[in-house]
Subunit: 394 residues, 2 copies
Amino acid sequence: MSFDARKFRDLDPGQRVLMGPGPSDVPPRVLQAMSAPCIGHLDPYFLETMNETQELLRYLFQTKNALTIPVSGTGSAGMETCFVNLIEPGDEVVVCVNGVFGTRMSDIVNRLGGKLIRVDEQWGRAVNANKVKDAIKGKNPKVLAVVHAETSTGACTPLEDLSSIAKEVGALFLVDMVTSLGGMEVAIDKTGIDAAYSGTQKCISCPPGLSPISFSDKAMEALKNRKSHVVSWYLDMSMVASYWGAERKYHHTAPINMIYALREALRIIAEEGLEARWTRHKLNHKALVAGIETMGLEMLVPESERLPMLNTIKIPDGVDDVKVRKALLKDFGLEIGGGLGDLAGKVWRVGLMGHAARPKNVFLFLSALETILRAEGVKINPGALDAAAEVYAS
Amino acid sequence: MSFDARKFRDLDPGQRVLMGPGPSDVPPRVLQAMSAPCIGHLDPYFLETMNETQELLRYLFQTKNALTIPVSGTGSAGMETCFVNLIEPGDEVVVCVNGVFGTRMSDIVNRLGGKLIRVDEQWGRAVNANKVKDAIKGKNPKVLAVVHAETSTGACTPLEDLSSIAKEVGALFLVDMVTSLGGMEVAIDKTGIDAAYSGTQKCISCPPGLSPISFSDKAMEALKNRKSHVVSWYLDMSMVASYWGAERKYHHTAPINMIYALREALRIIAEEGLEARWTRHKLNHKALVAGIETMGLEMLVPESERLPMLNTIKIPDGVDDVKVRKALLKDFGLEIGGGLGDLAGKVWRVGLMGHAARPKNVFLFLSALETILRAEGVKINPGALDAAAEVYAS
């Protein structure tokens, strides 16, 4: 078989500033840890690394849950893990849908033969707990699922009321924390969350590839009391838990180097401290919004429902979405995201996630966007950078 | 939440020699590529990286199959991907079982509601095609599945006869290439294989975390003609193929840096050339066996059925398996594997995979094993290193 290997050049992705919906910028320390020599998945040093990773994840998730581990797949694998382990065919499942990721949850519930009780909310708004209460009347759901931070819209749904509703009907409370974890409070134990999953590539600032999850004792009990097999062998938490637990029973080969990276990213978070990290995300968000609104642009989400780490800006009438994003990438090395689904072409999604949530990125984005929009002939009010600077000064 | 971040020390796994059943040693070039800056999963440079990775994978799999991609999970995720996409509840599925990984296939078929036709073979032996022919009589299987290289035993099952049997009954031929790919011929197109999966951490010499798979047109047709949904959203190849194909439709966030690593590992393979690589694996295997047999130890698998990259050595009577492996790791930084299932405590599994299949590792292992066994009071015949050297010299 003849094949010209020389046509493939050395990898050189350059250096972007990642301000899209994820992946976000990865600190050099994390990349360096990831490239440490690979060792065996039962090597004593690696087992210790697993323990530390779990301890750091529990801190980040604000939980004591024993089953707190990174699933060997990206965030969507974490979503699938929660549903495939906790529901059985015929189970009633409430899914709150206010964007792409709630829609994805519904799809998964249908594939698994769950009886879907779907509660729709306008995209760009928080889920209304009263609607959920109404939809649930007379039902007996096993799970109530919601996306904490809808990455597709930038809306944040508060978890307390939904947690109470789940408790009232005896349902497991399942929360998507893909975008919120590491950027705002999630408080699994305090809020009474039974299952949660996230991704490494958002506010944890680690490359994509793993999905941290956490199951409460109640969720573990539900898993133990299943009548049917978990349909996925790969994501069956009763077996995966044996490898991460005291037994150390081989299940599948762990993604060693990705776990090195995650441990280092979590260590950086612990060094900063959760509260300081949340405050930093809020501050940079405020500065970005101040700049955007001073320019005369509008945010999609009402102020009280905005996520700090994912900012959705309405694209001004007549402006070419793709052209602007291409110019940001080409002229400034800056990536932001476009809209998904009904919001395609209508919004830009600007991430301020983890390592990337800092003033220099806020100023770069505001400067770059203003420059490109002016070149496109869009009328932009002056003073965006001053407005952002004022937020930092106050 | 108070938490002492300082107790977590800098990551320092040291430098092992990985001669177990995988992961295997990763070349520095691969680790370096993996630590390049993370970029977006729809970034033009990354899309080009995906194309190149596919082209290199097609070379390695010896196929023209369009759907040839790395699944975003480890080898077992690849196994699950093949079954979950290709079988539906009630489908008859033949699984050949001669070790742990055939057993795992059976488990997955059962979970998916397939009608399992299980053909058992002695562990440590190749699957007997006649047994499969007999078991299949009067049946109408949709899939015939076999493990090419049983990592749990070191036995190699030839694929040609089984491929013919599958064709005779109109079944899809599904092959586990986790341990064989990159270390011996697999020849998907020539042999008529419809679905294959592998892992990155064996003879590809990349860290674990991805599972290269390839589907033939016939497999894609079967996927298109399903009557039921693929039960896994994450592994649904009809959607994943859209992201890897011309549409570039977002499905889940690709594990960017792992794909950097895979591309580099594949580039190294292409530079060496497949034939040269297979020859190298065979040569080092022969040298290892010459040394082992000269010592007076025995191989588990008959000579004609042995894998070059996974060598199963019978543990001499009275020797403490775990004590020897611990000494290898502690005194020589060398990892080998123990037996699984019925073979636990009875065999050692010694990998010569990819980057690790070289004379210096063969000599290190023979020297280390001899030293430790002698210290344990085992009678060892002299001349093992000479015997290995002679293989290299001839």
